[in-house]
């Protein structure tokens, strides 16, 4: 024991915070796996749901948008297009929705233990990432059978796609989980906002085709949507669509930018949380 007292410090430096965060990685991982296990612990099918849920979700979207509304517009690989966009979008959606309540659901933990609070949104992201990887199984089963030529030579694009999307998710989820404590209203709004986001992102139809007739300014605004670039990368990786520089740059800028903003805002403000719990 040193003679100097340890004064309780709530403003760690960035490197201390990152070190602390890294030393708690097992906790984030264990918490995410625990939530996954707990979610289906009382169901008969158990872990099968992790493949079944995205499969059923994909079938609903295919039925509504592919068959009833006929969004295919002559795309021979519409199934692959829809499913890749949908599952990748659900990775971000899942992170944000779980993250929005991640601190609220752990109020006791937050008010009694000291640890970098960012562990909580990160656990939500791990959970969503695992769920996304599971959803790729039905994707390959369906799209592989229907679309045929898989794997494409551009499959390596999946790595930057996953990295940039995960960075983007870390930033977004941290911001929302933090803001949802003083502004509980956000918890009610996030499901609605993610839904609007889903319909304005190129999940169901490609933007350039649908927005042919709008002004260029509006088109550019729609293309600014971070999900447009991220989904573009996923479609290159999974469907072999041509790689667009715009997508790669957009995903990188959004991913790294939002991650940095989210990280610093969260780290600098997390000590305020307990007062609002």
């Amino acid at each position: 024991m040193s003679s100097a007292p340890l004064t309780i410090s709530l403003r760690p430096s960035t490197s201390e915070y990152l070190k602390d965060l890294w030393s708690r990685r097992e906790f984030a991982w264990y918490m995410a796996l625990g939530n996954i296990r707990a979610q289906n612990s009382n169901t008969y099918l158990g872990l099968v749901w992790w493949v079944l849920s995205p499969l059923l979700l994909g079938m609903v979207f295919l039925l509504v948008f592919g068959v009833i509304l006929d969004s295919r517009r002559g795309d021979p690989d519409y199934i692959g297009f829809l499913l890749s966009g949908l599952f990748a979008f659900y990775y971000t959606r899942g992170s944000v929705l779980a993250g929005a309540v991640s601190i609220q659901q752990n109020t006791k933990l937050v008010s009694t233990k000291r640890f970098p609070r960012m562990i909580l949104p990160i656990a939500s992201i791990i959970e969503a990432a695992i769920s996304f990887l599971f959803s790729l199984i039905p994707f390959f089963v369906i799209a592989g059978f229907v679309g045929g030529d898989w794997p494409t030579p551009l499959i390596w694009v999946a790595i930057p796609a996953f990295v940039f999307q995960t960075l983007f998710n870390i930033g977004m989820t941290s911001l929302i989980s933090l803001l949802a404590i003083p502004f509980r209203d956000l918890t009610n709004l996030t499901p609605l906002l993610t839904r609007v986001w889903l319909y304005t992102s190129p999940v169901i139809f490609p933007l350039d085709e649908r927005l042919k007739n709008v002004s260029e300014t509006l088109f550019n605004i729609f293309s600014l949507n971070p999900m447009a670039s991220i989904l573009g990368l996923w479609r290159t990786a999974l469907l072999g669509r041509p790689l667009q520089t715009r997508d790669m740059v957009g995903a990188a800028v959004w991913g790294i930018g939002i991650a940095l903003v989210g990280f610093f805002v969260f780290m600098r403000n997390e000590h305020r949380l307990v007062k609002y719990l």
């Binding site: 024991m1 004064t7 309780i8 708690r24 264990y30 625990g34 612990s41 000291r114 307990v274």
Partner: protein, 314 residues
């Protein structure tokens, strides 16, 4: 925040703070050697005398205010004027200064809402004070609360890991202690059953065992005397005694005054966020009881009855 400012001022800390490296510190180490005796019963505070003169926690001028949500009659106008009519802040801690010594069992009493739990959160470092500072000598204190981080849908085994990781242990450390924890909690084969199938006694036994996995130098305990049945309660009391014997420090909050006066060396009485009296346990508790308008003799008998009841009602 002025907590940070205070911390950077070394002169402020130096005054009135005994140097832990002074002879008193060595004495403590000497005592630690013969501390391996296991107290099987609740020893009275006078017989224990493990407290040293070294400080473990020094809290200076702590102030915490909350701005509560106030529910008003919902009016159309009110929806837009909410900001202007701010609720009065609730003062949870008002200039609280305390010095708690190593090896001491320090109690905090007070009515509901007096600021006891807020004080523990500030000492634990999870709630930053609006002003004032906390100096800790030793490892960072841990606020013991039951079932923190537990997921009730998971098995007891997984919750041992979740709880341990939550209090900062590594997985390998939990691996080593796992058998001990299960044995201590006396859970047996139920460890592989989901926690939501446990009886409340089993749950709190496991939660207590998990919480005790990590033994910080300074343990902050919020209302913990009624865990499990009588046998388990004796065991948990023994564990607390053991911590004190290892020159650990315990700060506890409880409404069970009878037990507090038996267990604690010193007690602070807090009312409306202000320290009213600090001193020898029995004396402060008596003053608190007089203040609360309960005849102390009557209150003691009543408290003893409650304590007795608690022993047998599980």
């Amino acid at each position: 925040m002025s907590a940070a400012a205070d911390r950077d001022d070394p002169t402020k800390r130096a005054e009135g703070t005994p140097d832990p490296a002074a002879p008193g510190g060595k004495k403590r180490k000497g005592r630690k050697k013969d501390a391996d005796r296991v107290g099987g019963v609740f020893t009275s505070s006078t017989a224990r005398n493990t407290a040293t003169g070294d400080p473990a926690v020094i809290a200076k001028n702590l102030c915490v205010e909350f701005i509560p949500y106030v529910e008003r009659k919902p009016t159309f106008r009110g929806m837009f004027t909410r900001r202007k009519r701010r609720a009065n802040p609730v003062v949870a801690l008002d200039d609280v200064s305390l010095s708690i010594n190593k090896g001491e069992a320090f109690g905090v009493v007070g009515a509901n809402g007096a600021g006891k739990s807020t004080l523990l959160k500030v000492l634990a470092g999870t709630l930053p004070p609006d002003s004032g500072s906390v100096d800790i000598y030793g490892t960072s204190p841990s606020l013991l609360a039951l079932g923190v981080g537990f997921n009730r849908n998971l098995s007891g085994r997984r919750n041992v890991y979740l709880g341990g990781l939550g209090s900062g242990l590594r997985r390998s450390e939990i691996d080593e202690r796992f058998e001990q924890v299960v044995e201590y909690a006396d859970i047996g084969v139920a460890i592989d059953r989901p926690v939501n199938t446990y009886s409340s006694g089993m749950y709190s036994r496991l939660a207590f065992a998990v919480a005790m996995q990590s033994r910080p130098d300074i343990l902050l305990v919020d209302e913990l005397f009624s865990v499990g049945d009588q046998r388990f309660r004796a065991k948990s009391a023994e564990t607390m005694e053991q911590i004190l014997h290892d020159a650990g420090t315990i700060v506890m909050v409880s409404h069970s005054l009878g037990r507090m006066s038996k267990f604690c060396d010193r007690v602070a009485w807090i009312d409306k966020g202000k320290v009213q009296k600090v001193g020898e346990a029995a004396e402060v508790i008596e003053a608190y009881q007089v203040f609360s308008g309960v005849d102390s003799e009557e209150a003691r008998r009543f408290q003893e009855d409650i304590d007795e009841d608690q022993d047998f009602d599980d």
